[in-house]
Amino acid sequence: MTDLLTPVLSANWADDRPWRINNYERRGGYDALRKALDMQPDDVIALVKDANLRGRGGAGFPTGMKWSFVPKDNPNPKYLVVNADESEPGTCKDIPLMMASPHTLVEGIIIASHAIGVSHAFIYVRGEVLHVARRLQQAVREAYSAGYLGRNILGKGLDLELTVHSGAGAYICGEETALLDSLEGRRGQPRLRPPFPAVAGLYASPTVVNNVESIASVPSIVANGKEWFQSMGTEKSKGFTLYSLSGHVKKPGQFEAPMGITLRELIDLGGGMRDGHKLKFWTPGGSSTPLLTAEHMDMPLDYEATAAAGSMLGTKALQCFDETTSVVRSTLRFVEFYKHESCGKCTPCREGTWWLVQILMRIERGEGVEGDIEKLLDLSENIGGRSFCALADGAVATVTSAIKHFRSEFEAGYTTPAWELFPYEKSALFEAKPLAAASEHAGAQQKVGTH
């Protein structure tokens, strides 16, 4: 039996200055690169494919398979772009990884570039995390100095440039095609597919976009083999991964475990819910994944079980809310997020989130009108699956799942303000007075109207 926690990516985080290259190397860092450079590129792809590493950015697409889609006969240069935009509410795993051990990512990038035939790779890191940008930039400088980047890497003939690129505040740039437009210096709006990035991505050239954790997992697979990777996890969801526990738990944090750990186990590791409170609802993989309730606590957190429960594993961002929380409030705040982050390109997302927020606001104020819940559901149907990209699907997932599990709270919003039913100060982690602005709470107006 494997242990409950299996630190691989996080194994060196508690080391002394693990972000420095010599400290990373001291633990065997870049040995996997040496090994990979002695392998044929196709063998590296096969290894990652056979290990059954699935993308950790949310969709869970097999990483090796994605690499193998890059056409060999396309004369254009090929690019690897690491998606380090981590902006999905609740998701907070890539940032600590890059902060503590950026070289794990850099090493993964070099190996992946060798496998795919890339000579220029990019890390697109969201702009709002300064210290991560610093650590990445320094790691890249160090890797150049050490001969892991640049021309003729380790004398094995591989040439690779790596550019760290900071974004500027837009959740949608985590969507891979919007990310590519953004990286090209454009508005971060999603592109039509097909063509898929593997065929025509960055600068219309074949491009692989992978999440930070996906790429960072590669060196360990090369070092330890596919059987090792497959020895962890459930039947179809293999390997280890980072689970991010947050919310009303005593000790939130990052837990690297084999696929399939349960929320109950994680909450236990986090010392339980905060004293005197119990779990009310949670998201398995960030705010875009339909919320679940306490009844799902023993479900294995893998791709298959979460799907069977009507949700998604997503980014394994477990946001836990206790019974003090108003679902109407949380739903409104989630939808406000999507409204604020909607890129504006397509009608249902742009106009639909604008409308949803207005209805949710009046329900929050206790001024909902008969039929509002049906309207929310009907509008959600007209938004979800009708939009250009999956952002809007995430927006309506929060609405429909909240109504599914907590319909009566929305009904109560026809008569009673949410803050009366669930005094907001009770949800705060500190002693607090009632919010003065609660009755005219207007997050949306402030977030949309100004920049």
Binding site: A170, K339, C343, K345, E351, T353, W355, F388
Partner: protein, 825 residues
């Protein structure tokens, strides 16, 4: 003769490797109707073919698909591999696949609900101001809301509002409240025109179309965005609040502004044209036109319109009756005997040009006829006779699109034939066309064509052309300005002849190609017949029933010189602007000196003042005819404004012919066309190629430069009189030079350009890739006509002086410091 042939029948010998393979077809069904379409066809296009109407906003067949509005959703019950697609799909981005089964709103409740939901979303923030909206009555959103939308709005929130319309150029206004963010306008500007001066700004619910406030939407093609806007968000200053679509009568015709040959839809209300829009002709202009063609149509409305014949009595031109005027004209012409010259200009329909060609030979017994109211040369005359006249439909738009390489010689397509520019840009974007330009620098237009510059100071073009690799897949496009450069047209024929490259001559004006075909040249008879060939004269005699003088006539310059030398007694002038000649002073003097001047024109001009008899001619919109575009394709001119008594040039000339006692001329446009067509193409030997050597490079001393110049699209043309909103979007006149020559002077510093005693002062613009020793100025910018101000044309040497800021108020020379020039050997 007919010059238009069906291009698809392959009369234009497509290179062998371009014979296209039979198209692969895909069979699938929409609403259970099976159809076969070429592989790659979008479902929305296939539905159109079947007559199934799928609502849409962002989709436009000539723009890259966006899938933004989500209005065109359909239900794919079988993706062709037996699987139902889980979500409805946008038919404007969905490629038909074999065996696919698509259901539209007519057969699928899912599609129907998706569409209804979408229109509801689009309307929540749309002002319901249809009654005062220009688009009201012809608005896709309004129509959709009626057919697809719910009667009652479920929206109870507040609408997103913006301050009312803002000018995004002097010509175009934007009403952001009405905008549904389909991005047609921004995609047009970026993809088709290459002028992304409008772009989406902000994001989410606040997304909007925007300019950068300091850089307005000054694109030659901006009007197309108004036309393709599916709501009334974009409107034009010119048409705003002027009329309602149901009051308008539409007529299709051909644009008279250049030789591109655009189909136009002209809308008039009670005898006044209210607006002009691009017609849809896939072979020619597709669905676009340029702003000059769209907005430039009010020039005939000024009080300078000539409404009655005028006859000079003493110093005064006095109104006269038509018979009086015809008598006076005949008397004047007869007094001049056979020594008459005819200047026809470049704006006539082919029927009118033919009437002059015939009138000169039959009525006046002379070959002194020339249509070129611009720089011209004997070399050009020979070139036109050898390689253009009577060649029928030559290189076409479609062939430009298929070519691998296009070389521009003395030709700036964006300024001189905007639709050619658009087609080249399309080919560059979609088919990887390579464009090479032989020019002193990469103009704005050339940059948008991604063109390679083969740098040439005016005069150096023949040599530059000789250095370019041409082959059978190359098309060389020569502009009318090639006539300014000795040896250039000779070199064009030389190099294309040797390499098998194809060649097309693209003049600026709508009537030039027709004038060449009609024989408005001193040594050419209709249909490209060389005057020198007796058989050609026999042909003409047969049609005209009159002898054709055999002596080669004078070209325009020759005529002016002959007048000034006392060798030519009279001039017949057809709406020509003397200011368009390279030396307007000479032209005006000749008109002054000529014993007799007969002018046929619609508006008062500097010719009117010097004329002895003036015959008022109707505006183009008041009559019919034919233009021949640069391709050699006949383009119909239709009568837009019905008028009872219309006097065309041809009709007036027929009256004169009668009065002169010559064999009768056709009196109607159709009779003139029929007679012209009788000539048919010339099958005899073609006139010889020109043989002119290039000139040697001129010495450029310090403070001097060789002048390069051409006319911007939006220039001081009299056709644009009264178009202030349009002219507000014109390029500002500048002196463009390279960084070395500009030395340390900043952009915008005033530069005095002089030649002899004449000078012009304009702000400096630095152009990185300007050929060394060269300077560029616009030829006819508003308020700055180089021909009058400098008497200079391309290739002339000019002097440059920087004006120190203090001195810029008036007295130039004192404050002037010499500009550094590299000087050429």
């Amino acid at each position: 003769m007919t010059v238009e042939k069906d291009e698809k029948k392959g009369q234009t010998q497509p290179p062998a490797d371009q014979a296209r393979p039979p198209e692969e077809l895909v069979t699938f069904s929409i609403d259970d109707i099976e159809t076969s379409v070429p592989k790659g066809t979008l479902v929305i296009r296939a539905a159109e073919e079947l007559g199934i109407d799928i609502p849409r906003f962002c989709d436009h067949p000539l723009l890259d698909p966006a899938g933004a509005c989500r209005q065109c959703m359909v239900d794919v019950v079988d993706d062709g591999r037996g699987r139902q697609m889980p979500k409805p799909q946008t038919s404007c981005t969905l490629t038909a696949m074999p065996g696919m089964k698509v259901r539209t709103q007519y057969t699928s409740p899912v599609a129907e609900k998706a569409q209804r939901g979408m229109i509801e979303f689009l309307l929540i923030n749309h002002p319901l101001d249809c009654p005062i909206c220009d688009k009201g009555g012809e608005c896709p959103l309004q129509n959709q809301a009626m057919s697809t939308g719910d009667g009652e709005s479920r929206y109870e929130g507040e609408k997103r509002t913006y301050p009312k319309p803002i000018n995004i150029s002097s010509q175009v206004l934007l009403d952001r409240e009405r905008c549904i963010l389909c991005a047609r306008c921004t995609r047009f500007s970026e993809q088709i025109a290459g002028d992304p001066f409008i772009a989406l700004a902000e994001r989410g619910a606040l997304q909007q179309v925007a300019i950068y406030e300091k850089e307005p939407f000054e694109s030659y093609f901006s009007g197309n965005t108004i036309q393709i806007c599916p709501v009334g968000a974009l409107t034009s200053s010119a048409y705003r609040f002027r009329s309602r679509p149901f009051d308008l009568v539409s007529t299709h015709t051909t644009c008279e502004n250049c030789a591109s040959g655009c189909d136009l839809r002209v809308d008039h209300r009670r005898g006044t044209v209210m607006r002009r829009m691009a017609g849809n002709d896939p072979e020619v202009n597709e669905e676009w036109n340029c702003d000059r063609g769209r907005f430039g149509f009010v020039s005939g409305r000024g009080d300078d319109r000539i409404t009655t014949p005028l006859v000079r009595r003493g110093d005064e031109l006095l109104p006269a009756s038509w018979p009086e005027a015809i008598d006076a004209a005949v008397a004047g012409l007869q007094k001049a005997g056979k020594d008459v010259g005819v200047l026809t200009g470049g704006r006539l329909t082919v029927e009118d040009a033919y009437a002059y060609s015939r009138f000169a030979r039959v009525g006046l017994g002379t070959n002194n006829i020339d249509f070129r109211a611009r720089a011209h040369s004997a070399e050009e005359t020979d070139f036109l006779a050898n390689a253009v006249a009577g060649t029928g439909l030559g290189v076409t738009y479609a062939e430009l699109e298929r070519a691998k390489h296009v070389v521009l010689v003395g030709f700036e397509p964006e300024d001189e034939s905007p639709i050619v520019f658009l087609r080249l840009r399309k080919a560059m974007r979609k088919k990887g066309l390579k464009v090479t330009t032989i020019a002193p620098f990469l103009s704005r237009g050339s940059q948008k064509l991604n063109a390679t510059l083969v740098s040439a100071v005016p005069g150096g073009e023949p040599q530059a052309l000789a250095s370019v690799d041409l082959d059978g897949d190359t098309v060389v496009l020569v502009g009318e300005r090639a006539a300014e450069i000795p040896g250039l047209l000779t070199m064009v024929l030389d190099t294309t002849g040797r390499s098998g490259a194809r060649m097309a001559w693209i003049p600026r004006r709508a009537g030039e190609r027709g004038a060449v075909e009609a024989g408005c040249l001193p040594h050419l008879l209709p249909g490209g017949r060389p005057l020198s060939d007796p058989a050609a004269r026999v042909d003409a005699q047969a049609v005209w029933g009159a002898d054709v003088p055999a002596r080669v006539g004078l070209d325009a310059t020759g005529m002016f010189n002959a007048v000034l030398a006392g060798e030519l007694g009279a001039l017949v002038v057809a709406g020509v602007e003397p200011e368009d000649f390279p030396k307007p002073r000479i032209a005006l003097e000749a008109l002054e000196e000529a014993g007799f001047v007969l002018s046929l024109e619609a508006r008062e001009s500097s010719v009117t003042a010097r004329a002895d008899v003036v015959l008022p001619i109707s505006l183009l919109e008041e009559r019919s005819g034919t233009f021949i575009d640069w391709e050699g394709r006949e383009r119909p001119v239709h009568n837009v404004i019905p008028k009872k008594h219309v006097m065309t040039d041809g009709r007036a000339l027929a009256a004169l012919t009668d009065a002169l006692g010559a064999p009768a001329a056709p009196r109607t446009v159709s009779a003139a066309k029929a007679e012209f067509d009788e000539f048919g193409p010339w099958s005899g030997n073609r006139a010889a190629e020109p043989r002119v050597a290039g000139s040697t490079a001129i010495e450029v001393g310090p403070g001097e430069a060789v002048l390069s110049t051409w006319r911007d699209l939006l220039d001081d043309s009299r056709c644009l009189d009264g178009e202030d909103a349009l002219l507000g979007t014109a390029q500002r006149p500048v002196v463009a030079m390279g960084p070395t020559m500009a030395a340390d002077a900043p952009e915008g510093a005033l530069v005095e350009v002089s030649r002899g005693q004449r000078s012009v002062t304009l702000p400096l613009k630095i152009v990185e890739n300007m050929a060394s020793g060269c300077v560029w100025l616009p030829a006819h910018a508003r308020g700055h006509n180089l021909s009058t101000e400098l008497e200079a044309t391309a290739g002339d040497l000019v002097r440059l002086d920087m004006i120190e800021p203090e001195a810029s108020e008036g007295d130039g020379p004192e404050g002037a410091a010499s500009v550094s020039t590299e000087g050429t050997k």
